[in-house]
Symmetry: C2
Subunit: 258 residues, 2 copies
DNA sequence: ATCGCTAATTTGCCAGACAAGCGGCTAGCG
DNA sequence: CGCTAGCCGCTTGTCTGGCAAATTAGCGAT
């Protein structure tokens, strides 16, 4: 059984000892996380198709040079995201795509690690276009002082940094987070984690092809002001406009790329 | 160390020959599932508060009379749902509520196993009121023959059974599933699993207090017809009306209960 | 052809051990 | 006296090896 290195680089050195491979693993990342990442990207990228069966635990664990328990815990993580399902005798099989939890931050990250499907990005924006304007309306009706403060802080950070920097993308994400949070609806806040990840990945994708032509701050400021003023209609409209513009940017970036 | 039975009576499975194992659990359900269920309900119900630490793996595994590996895999499941986080030396601590994945079907089930929070139910309906009308609009624009067939089949099942039966609730769920599916947007389909679970639990909650006073079939039929006809405006309006009515029923059921 | 039984294969679970990471304590130093 | 660096011990992380359970596939009898 061939051995597969779990960390990205290193194709030159023959893997002799586990200690060596462990040193290449970034410090905070647990081994099972690396395994889950490896298998997850393989599945999401299509290298392993739905319906296919992963080779047995013993064989696969040995191929990755990890213990069976670590491998099993990694598979358990994937099971929780709906990517695979394990049954005795049948083995662990890759689930059909409609069972995947596409809104899970990890799955999103794996999906964007390769060349993301344009249709998938369009779908993500469609979801944002449904949820975020409605959330902005609710936020305008329910926001309190802390919510406004959080929005303003995120906006200030967006002004300070640009979207080309990691800090800028984080601020963008914080802004959308703050809006969702201001709805005071726990289920929407849960969606915030997914939508936030989608925002980050799509903006990064935009940056990949060319510099962003439009300053995003005014659009965000309009949303913020409308919510702070308690104007539900204006908040919804401003958020809708913001997402439309972001979609335009992303779409043209995709066209420019290919 | 006291031992806690893990049994989760399902009451629907025929009493098979049970191997005299330590802790009886219904067939098909894996041990780690029972552990995750036990810990999950304890956390979601508030018996273990956010910030608190679970007793160590060794102690807890022994208390439940399971091996440490099975216990660890259960904890890994909870980690995937955002309920806990494990760090060496610090132990596994319960995450704050806004980190929980409240849309996960299991988490929803655990939340509804006790007395569900009325505010939580209101939030779920708010989410449905945002997503499903918009989805109905998209469905009306994009549905194909198979989508219409699936909707009609679910509707027929709703007519055959009542919402008081398990089959009826399943049909209801299939209907909403079919609508989301007809959008041909993968991310919305992902939400379908969560929303479907929410629909099932809230309808069951309605039934708990009194018989449903209103026949839900005409409302659903209006949605189905509008989508089949390709009338986006009518589909959106019909779905909005449906959810409003369902919310009314649930609200009055909650008022009657307490 | 159908049913029931057996065997084989794969995951599920168990037991014990050691490694790694990390929080806190303590001793040494300025 | 305050502060920092290093040690200690606690908790999770991983490894090893083995056995049990479940379920599919094949086979044989009816």
């Amino acid at each position: 059984m061939r051995r597969v290195p779990l960390d990205t680089e290193d194709a030159s050195i023959e893997p002799q000892k586990r200690a060596e491979r462990r040193s290449e693993r970034s410090t905070g990342r647990r081994l099972r996380g690396a395994i889950a990442h490896y298998l997850g990207t393989a599945i999401v990228s299509g290298a392993i198709r739905p319906g296919e069966r992963l080779t047995g635990e013993v064989a696969n664990a040995e191929a990755l040079d990890v213990s069976r328990s670590a491998y099993r815990e990694a598979v358990r993580v994937l099971t929780g995201k709906g990517l695979v399902e394990s049954r005795t005798k049948a083995g662990t099989i890759v689930q059909p795509r409609n069972r995947w939890n596409l809104l899970d931050p990890d799955v999103l990250a794996w999906a964007f690690s390769g060349e993301p499907d344009p249709a998938f990005i369009r779908n993500l924006f469609e979801l944002r276009a449904i949820v975020e304007p409605a959330a902005a309306r609710l936020a305008a009706e329910r926001r309190d002082k802390d919510d406004i403060k959080a929005m303003r802080a995120a906006l200030a950070n967006m002004r300070r940094h640009t979207l080309a920097t990691e800090a800028g993308r984080l601020a963008d994400r914080q802004f959308h987070d703050a809006v969702l949070q201001a709805t005071h609806n726990d289920t929407l806040v849960t969606l915030s984690a997914s939508i936030g990840a989608a925002v980050a990945w799509t903006t990064q994708f935009k940056q990949r092809t060319r510099a962003l032509p439009r300053d995003p701050v005014p659009d965000h400021a309009r949303v913020s002001d409308a919510i702070a003023a308690g104007d539900a209609d204006a908040a919804e409209a401003a958020m809708r406009a913001l997402i439309d513009l972001a979609l335009d940017d992303t779409r043209s970036a995709m066209n420019a790329a290919g």
